[in-house]
Every structure is written in structure tokens, then in C-alpha cells.
């Protein structure tokens, strides 16, 4: 959809350019030219000489390696509640994180003041992880060639607040039109632009512009004195064109449909049973059951349940699971990781065999392999570590109808709100916000609010059918690890897990 279409949808005839895009970075707007690094150097007010001086300080005590991670993030959010768009927030962060490695040891410091003196002071702090004679900074820097998996036409800086206000009001009106039982609605819209520049002591340099949007619609409905609340959301690394007329129609429809469905929903019986995971955000199972356990830092330390399973058969032949940073416009995609390595598709499980872990620089060095472009961090205030991007299972040989028909007694789960894992024993959970019972091969009444708990390797071995309908989640998933949050996504075809513990009652 073009920008003009968006204007049309939101019902305003005003040109966007006449409205204030709120956040401006405080830097001169410099268009990229033949040297893409010039734009970023100017954005951060630095040059190669400055970088070399800071690196010399970081390597003052003989660290093996150092990198500087410059970041400028501009975020906006706007909220509708009680029928009016009555709240907006903006946030600007700017800074540089300086990391020094000595073997697998990390020294880290950051500064929000990008002056040479402040950066040198921070570099000297990070350098303290090593103790020895100084090493030299590189004399030249070579660009890392990158693909762009989230090319955009319109900067979020150029989308005016007035258009967002009208967009939220239109969605709110639609929510109330869906069902007379709706008594409350809220709509939240947030966008951000993240500019990063990574430069390392091996002379590597990479930059990225990372856009993001998230829009969520929540509502409460009332029937016979009972209330239920639910929501629906979209998130993507994209510009405003992501909000097509179709998606803007689905948002209020799904939010209301998911809410009123809960009036009929029951808590399922407790205990082990067959669970069908519907295509899409059921990929949360993979994220928890296998993804975290396959992050190489836990394996390097020998504390993951998967530490000794490489090249072992862990699932049926038709199970292939990947972690991929290159899916166009998907929330967890990255052109480059936060250590400067290009993103890629990393095959974790190939035809049922565990193939490789997800690596950052430290773990790749430990294992003697190439980094997988999985070194991510929340911001310049944090050191990178192996993290997931978009984790999903590829389509298999079965049909959805065939899977449902095969279940005598179980549930199908289709909406999830969170998950968690204990890496060592491999025990994990994910919370089913809504789903349905399956009895004698047929979907019957809806269910809600039930936690599912299992063991990663055991559950993988119990994936007995995989359908041909893989879909990616389109919601705003965020992964937390060691106090750092990063955006991720996930995906799944419809899958049958033959037996897993469902936290029902009775």
C-alpha cells in the first residue's frame, strides 16, 4: 500500500508533510551517499580517527578484541482509552557500548556522551578485563556487505501524529460496531527507528537502520454479569504501508472475536493428553522447548540439556526447525547482528537431527565455527549474547484435517501469551489464552487460560504429525534472557504432540 492509501484509510486529506513528525534526532539530516558509513558517522558525530583512538584505549591492557556499538533509537507510542486518544509517549536514547574480550571473558562499559574523552574513559574501564601490554587499533575499516530484509519507503519520523490519532479512532469505532457486548476498548500504537553502527578491532564495520511497529487492540466484553478481556496485535519491521486495509479490518474483528469466544470457554480437564498446536504463534513451543537450549552460551558452559546432542536424532524425519533472521519484514529479522555479522538462516534440527547451536562471537570461537549472526543485545547498555531471531518449524507431510481427525481426546491451542524454560533440565511452559477441545476427531467447545508444561527433548520426540500449512506469527513477541529483551518472532505448521501435561482442573 502506498502512503497515499494510508492517508485515505485514516480519513484525512491533509498532506503528512504538513504535520509534525515528532522525534528528530538532533543530528543534521544527512542522506546516505556512496559511502553509507558517512551517514552514520555524521549521525553519531564521529570519524575514523575518533574510533581508532577509542579502540587504542580499549586495547590498552592487551585485550584480544574490542568492538564499539553506537546506537540512536527514536521511539513513539500513542494510546486510545475510553474513546479518546489521550496519551502519547516519546523516547530518545543515544550512546555507545564498548566491549573488550580476553578469551571468553568480557569487559563492558557504556557512555551516553559520545565525546572522545567520555568514550576513552569508558574504553579504559572495559579494557580492565585484560592485563598486559597494549595492542594497536586497526588502520583501516572494511565494510560488511549486507542484504536489506526490511526495505521501507517512509520514515516513521515522517508519519504525523494527527494521522495516528485518526487511525486509532477509526479502529476504536470498529471495535464497538463488532458486538454490543463490548464495554471497553483500548488501542496502542508504537513505532521506533533504531540506527546502529558496529565497528571492531579487526577492521570490520557494519550499519543498520531497523524500523519497527506494533499495534494492539484490547477489549472487555460483558454478558450476564460476566466479563472477559482479550486482545489482538500486529508487529513488523516495516513502515506504515504494513497497515493494509485488510489488516486494519482484521484488527478490531479479531480482538472482539477472541474476547467474546471466552464466554463459552471452559477450563479443560487436568493431565496428559494430545495437543494440536495451530499454525502460527504455536511456534512458542519451539522457542521454549528447543530455542533457548540451543543458544550456544548455555552449551559452551555445559549446562543445557542439549549440550551433548549435536548430530543426534531428536525428532521424527519430517521435523526441521530453523532460526532465521532473514524473513522479510518479520519482527525478529535483522540485516546484521549486534556484533556486525550478517544475518542468516540457521538450521537447528534437520530432518529430526540436531545440527547446530546459535552462536555469538565468543561461542563461535569456543567451538571453532563461524558465528551464525545470532549475537544480539537489548541496547548499547548491554553486551551481546546468542539470541533467537525468528524460530520456526518447516511444513511437513500431513494435512490439518488429518491431524484433527486423529485425536481421540485432546485440545487444539491457538492463542498464547507467554512461555518460559529451565535450560538445564529442559522443562518449559507456555500459556494458552484460548483454544478448543478435540473429542473423537472433532473440534468441540472452546477452552481458555491454561498452562502447558513439558520437557523439551521429550516433547520434540512426541511430535508425531506436521502439517503443510506453516505460518509465521505476526504479533509483538519479545524474548527475555539474562535481563535483556529483544524482539523475536516464531512460526509453526499445525502440529500434533502426542502427549503433554495440560494444566486443567479436576
Amino acid at each position: 500500500m502506498s502512503r497515499r492509501d494510508f492517508v485515505k484509510i485514516t480519513g484525512t486529506g491533509l498532506a503528512l508533510a504538513t504535520l509534525p513528525g515528532f522525534i528528530r534526532s538532533g543530528f543534521a539530516g544527512v542522506a546516505p551517499d556512496d559511502n553509507p558509513y558517512k551517514f552514520y558517522f555524521q549521525r553519531f558525530g564521529i570519524d575514523e580517527d575518533t574510533v581508532q583512538k577509542v579502540m587504542a584505549e580499549a586495547l590498552h591492557y592487551g585485550g584480544d578484541y574490542c568492538d564499539l556499538f553506537f546506537q540512536n533509537q527514536l521511539s513513539n507510542s500513542i494510546r486510545l482509552q475510553d474513546n479518546i486518544v489521550n496519551s502519547a509517549s516519546t523516547n530518545v536514547t543515544l550512546g555507545v557500548g564498548i566491549r573488550v574480550l580476553k578469551g571468553d571473558q568480557t569487559g563492558y562499559s557504556f557512555t551516553e556522551d559520545i565525546s572522545l574523552a567520555s568514550m576513552k574513559a569508558a574504553a579504559r574501564t572495559a579494557a580492565g578485563i585484560a592485563s598486559g601490554s597494549a595492542k594497536k587499533a586497526p588502520e583501516t575499516f572494511n565494510a560488511t556487505q549486507l542484504m536489506n530484509y526490511y526495505e521501507t519507503q517512509v520514515s516513521w519520523e515522517d508519519v504525523g501524529i494527527k494521522d495516528k490519532v485518526e487511525l486509532l479512532q477509526a479502529i476504536n469505532d470498529d471495535v464497538f460496531k463488532q458486538d454490543p457486548r463490548v464495554i471497553k476498548a483500548s488501542v496502542n500504537f508504537s513505532d521506533s527507528e533504531n540506527y546502529i553502527l558496529v565497528v571492531n578491532s579487526e577492521g570490520g564495520i557494519a550499519t543498520d537502520y531497523q524500523p519497527m511497529l506494533r499495534i494492539s487492540v484490547g477489549c472487555t466484553a460483558e454478558e450476564d454479569g460476566k466479563r472477559e478481556n482479550n486482545y489482538f496485535d500486529y508487529s513488523a519491521r516495516d513502515d506504515i504501508s504494513f497497515l493494509t486495509p485488510e489488516r486494519l479490518k482484521i484488527l478490531p474483528q479479531e480482538a472482539v472475536a477472541r474476547t467474546v469466544k471466552l464466554f463459552e470457554a471452559q477450563t479443560p480437564p487436568a493431565g496428559e493428553m494430545s495437543v494440536v498446536l495451530a499454525a502460527g504463534s504455536s511456534g512458542i513451543l519451539l522457542h521454549e522447548a528447543i530455542g533457548h537450549g540451543m543458544e550456544a552460551d548455555f552449551n559452551r558452559q555445559g549446562i543445557s540439556v542439549f549440550s551433548d546432542m549435536i548430530n543426534k536424532k531428536v525428532a521424527k524425519d519430517f521435523v526441521t526447525i530453523v532460526d532465521n533472521g532473514t524473513n522479510p519484514h518479520v519482527r525478529g529479522s535483522i540485516n546484521v547482528d549486534d556484533e556486525g555479522y550478517p544475518s542468516q538462516e540457521t538450521v537447528l534440527v534437520e530432518n529430526g537431527v540436531l545440527r547446530t547451536f546459535m552462536h555469538d562471537r565468543i561461542s563461535a570461537t569456543h567451538y571453532g565455527v563461524k558465528p551464525t549472526g545470532s549475537g544480539r543485545r537489548e541496547s548499547f547498555k548491554h553486551n551481546p549474547m546468542p539470541r533467537m531471531r525468528n524460530t520456526y518449524m518447516k511444513s511437513g507431510p500431513h494435512k490439518y484435517a488429518e491431524i484433527i481427525a486423529s485425536v481421540k481426546h485432546g485440545i487444539i491451542a491457538d492463542q498464547f501469551t507467554n512461555g518460559q524454560v529451565n535450560i538445564g533440565p529442559g522443562d518449559f511452559t507456555f500459556y494458552v489464552k484460548s483454544g478448543s477441545l478435540i473429542e473423537d476427531g472433532k473440534i468441540t467447545g472452546p477452552i481458555k487460560d491454561v498452562n502447558i508444561i513439558g520437557n523439551g527433548p521429550e516433547v520434540l520426540s512426541r511430535v508425531t504429525m506436521v502439517a503443510d500449512d506453516m505460518a509465521m506469527a505476526e504479533g509483538g513477541w519479545t524474548c527475555g534472557k539474562n535481563g535483556q529483551s529483544v524482539p523475536v518472532s516464531m512460526g509453526m505448521p499445525s502440529v500434533l504432540v502426542s502427549s503433554i501435561t495440560v494444566g486443567g482442573r479436576g
Binding site: P20, I84, G107, E272, I303, Q420, G424, T501, G503
Partner: protein, 440 residues
């Protein structure tokens, strides 16, 4: 922090906001410094030092409201930032309920010294930090042949914040925090590698629980997970370890808020002065505990902090009412959120209660799950022990508890006399009857 520099900047921002069109404003400026040292298997894994500053401002202009934050505190940047903030606010819709608190609510702050900042924090040396983190891990050397890995860490921080509101509020908060802890992985059956941890946090360094005790507790908690497996589903009593009881009760705090009630997302709406739990439950919000992890002089609105009973003998006394949602509901503000929550202890220790149980599950760890604030339904992953005839007979894992808070709280049978004081939510051991456990 050099007090006058930040305070002066705050006044400058406040004045600038007024000049640029804000009728009222509220702002905060924070400066924080922290250091963390992590050891793993005898050597430093990570050293991290950080110093950061931030400013956030709420703009009230022509009946409209917005809030903004930045870490770029240069005056030339701030001026542009504030001008944009005021401009943006003008495009929002009017909200008659969004206004600064009545200045009367600011009055009556405690004049007692809550002692939230340890002056000695500035004297802690880099070597001392390293040594503390290292010692914690080394305590476990040779303690168990099955240990795969031991991680230990020491973290300390100092934070100082100034708050200014244009209708006369001026507040200052300063606090320190020290945390140390260990996590242990051991080789279990097959590929399983059970893990456990223990950490302690205190406002003053001298109040931290000893390194040896912390490390040994981490090891014991890990060993307790060996051989854990699920048992068949059953409804039976649940004994909740004191350090984990907050994991169940904190999920009630959002339904107790005015925002949840006004948005019709609370199962506790209309329950004030009603019996919502058994008589065994009494919870007090107490902001004035000396060196308390949740202690404060004023809340986010600037309301002077004072003690507030939440639940007394099972009867709901108060909600957390902030200024904005209080205005919407027509209710007098109490406080926007909890400070230190104190569950009134009972007569017996957790171990005494445990010894008297015929058959129950002792929950020592949570694993995921969620609760629905609108209905009170919950479903949570648990691990712990099966208790038979007062003894821990089997380590259990991969199980869930499910139910509804309204029923669960009425089934609270007894609370222990052993509050966990290393948290802002001080919970003793708690015993609930008729809990539905799902397993094999």
C-alpha cells in the same frame, strides 16, 4: 550526584516547558551508577560498569497530556525536545481527568530517616567486588562431584532522582542496592542437568546474607531437583515456600489497582469491604520500613507515603488508587502502587506446618503460567516436593496448578511465622487446601 547541577537543570526544564506552551509539567531526572562482576568456574566471566542519566517529563497543555524521555541532557537538545513535546501534545484529544495531583496530597511525608542509601557504597573497591563474587563461587569447591558449573556474581548500584511538579512538589530519592548470588548446574539422570540458584539483595552491604550461606543454599536447591518427575493429577493441599509465596500473590496487585477497575479488567471490582480471602490473610502496605527494599517517602504521583491496610482478616480494605484513575472513578487517591507489602505472620514455622501434613505438595519453584486479572483464573507451572506423613518423599516437576483466585484465597488455611524479608513483598510460608495439580 552534584545536587545543584541536576536540580538547577530541572528548574530550567520546568521553566522552558512553561515558556514553550505547557500549562503544567512534572519531571524527573535520574543519575545512576552500577558495577557488576560475574564469575564462572573460577574466573571472571564479565565485568560491567555503567553510569547513566535520564530525564522524563509529563506535559499538560490545553487540557491535553503526553510524556517523554531522553538521555541527552544537553540544554540545546532539551530545548528542541521540549518544544517538540509541547507541539505533539497539541494534536491529542482533551482529557479532563489528566491533571497534576492536589498539592494537599504532597503533604505529610515521613520525616524519619529510612536509611535507604549506604554511604559506604562509594568506598567499595574493584578488588573487593572481584573477591566477593569469587568467594561466593569458591565456597562450593569440592562440595559435590556432580557439579557441572557454578556462576556467582556481585552487583552494587547507587541511584539518585529529583522530581519536580509545577504546582509545587519537589522530591529527592537516593538509594543504594547490593546483590549477590550463585547459580549451580549439576549432572542429573540422562541428559538432564538440574539447575538452582539463590540470590540476596539489600540496601546496605552489611545486611547481605553471608556468601557461604547463599552459595550453599543454591547448591541445596539444585540437588533438590535431582530425579524430579511428575506424578498423577490430584487435588490436595499446597504448601508454598516463604520465598516463593510472593510469586502467587503479586498477580493480585494489578486487579487491586484503580486502572484495572476503571477499565473493567478486575475480578476484585466491587469487593471493597467484602471477604475475598480466608481470615488467615492480612496484608499491609508499609512504605516506612528502615532500609526496606520498597520503602519510600512519596509515590509516583508525589503522594506522601503512609501505611495502608490492603486486606485484614480476609476483608479487602483498600485499592491502589492513583491520581488519574482516581479522577476517572471519582475516588480519593491512595497510592499508585505498592511499597513494602507485609503478609501478617502466623504462629508456626513452615517446617512445623509441613510436619503436620498427611499428603500435600510443597511448591518451591514456579515455571511460567499466567493469571487472568478480569476473571481471576490462573494456571501456573510448579516444581517442589510431594509430602507424605510430614516428610518430603519425592521431588516433583512438570506439573501445573490451576484454579481461580477467588476460590484459592478462601482456601488459605494457615500462614507461617517465617516471613521472607529479602524482598519488598514479605511473605511467610502459606498453606492452601484443595488445589488442583495436573501431572501425568
Amino acid at each position: 550526584m552534584e545536587k545543584n547541577v541536576y536540580l538547577d537543570l530541572g528548574y530550567w526544564v520546568q521553566k522552558k516547558a512553561k515558556q514553550l506552551g505547557a500549562s503544567e509539567s512534572a519531571l524527573g531526572i535520574n543519575h545512576a551508577r552500577s558495577v557488576s562482576v560475574d564469575f564462572r568456574d573460577g574466573k571472571v566471566e564479565k565485568l560491567k560498569e555503567s553510569t547513566q542519566q535520564a530525564m522524563w517529563i509529563e506535559i499538560f497543555a490545553k487540557g491535553r497530556y503526553s510524556n517523554h524521555s531522553t538521555n541527552d541532557l544537553r540544554k540545546e537538545s532539551l530545548e528542541k525536545f521540549i518544544a517538540n513535546a509541547v507541539d505533539l501534545t497539541g494534536f491529542l484529544e482533551k482529557d479532563e481527568f489528566r491533571k497534576l495531583p492536589d498539592p494537599g496530597l504532597y503533604k505529610g511525608q515521613s520525616e524519619a530517616d529510612l536509611d535507604l542509601s549506604d554511604a559506604k557504597q562509594g568506598d567499595v573497591t574493584a578488588d573487593e567486588r572481584l573477591q566477593r563474587a569469587k568467594n561466593l563461587g569458591e565456597t562450593l569447591g569440592g562440595k559435590d562431584d556432580r557439579i557441572i558449573s557454578v556462576s556467582s556474581g556481585f552487583h552494587d548500584s547507587h541511584s539518585e532522582t529529583y522530581h519536580l511538579k509545577s504546582n509545587g512538589f519537589e522530591g529527592h530519592k537516593e538509594s543504594t542496592s547490593f546483590t549477590h548470588g550463585a547459580s549451580v548446574s549439576i549432572q542429573g539422570e540422562g541428559d538432564k542437568k538440574p539447575e538452582g540458584w539463590r540470590y540476596y539483595r539489600a540496601r546496605h552491604l552489611e545486611d547481605l546474607v553471608g556468601a557461604e550461606q547463599t552459595a550453599l543454599e543454591a547448591l541445596e536447591r539444585t540437588k533438590a531437583r535431582l530425579g524430579a518427575e511428575k506424578i498423577p493429577s490430584e487435588t490436595m493441599p499446597m504448601l508454598l515456600e516463604n520465598s516463593n509465596a510472593a510469586g502467587l500473590l503479586w498477580r493480585m496487585m494489578y486487579p487491586l489497582s484503580a486502572s484495572a477497575i476503571q477499565q473493567k479488567n478486575s475480578f476484585l471490582e466491587g469487593k471493597k469491604d467484602s471477604q475475598i480471602a480466608s481470615e488467615a490473610l492480612t496484608i499491609l502496605d508499609n512504605p516506612s520500613i528502615v532500609r526496606g527494599l520498597g520503602s519510600r517517602y512519596y509515590d509516583g504521583d508525589g503522594i506522601a507515603a503512609k501505611q495502608m491496610p490492603l486486606i485484614t482478616n480476609g476483608v479487602l480494605n483498600n485499592y491502589f488508587v492513583d491520581v488519574y484513575y482516581g479522577n476517572k472513578l471519582g475516588w480519593k487517591p491512595t497510592s499508585g502502587g505498592a511499597s513494602n507489602l507485609i503478609v501478617q505472620p502466623g504462629a508456626r514455622s513452615g517446617l512445623e506446618i509441613e510436619a503436620g501434613l498427611d499428603r500435600a505438595i510443597l511448591v518451591t519453584d514456579w515455571l511460567g503460567g499466567n493469571a487472568n486479572p478480569t476473571t481471576g483464573d490462573f494456571s501456573l507451572g510448579v516444581a517442589g516436593w510431594l509430602i507424605e506423613n510430614g516428610k518430603r518423599v519425592k521431588s516433583i516437576t512438570e506439573m501445573n496448578i490451576s484454579g481461580n483466585y477467588s476460590e484459592l484465597l478462601m482456601n488459605l488455611v494457615e500462614v507461617g511465622n517465617d516471613p521472607w524479608i529479602h524482598s519488598s513483598f514479605r511473605t511467610p510460608t502459606m498453606l492452601f487446601d484443595k488445589v488442583s495439580f495436573s501431572g501425568s
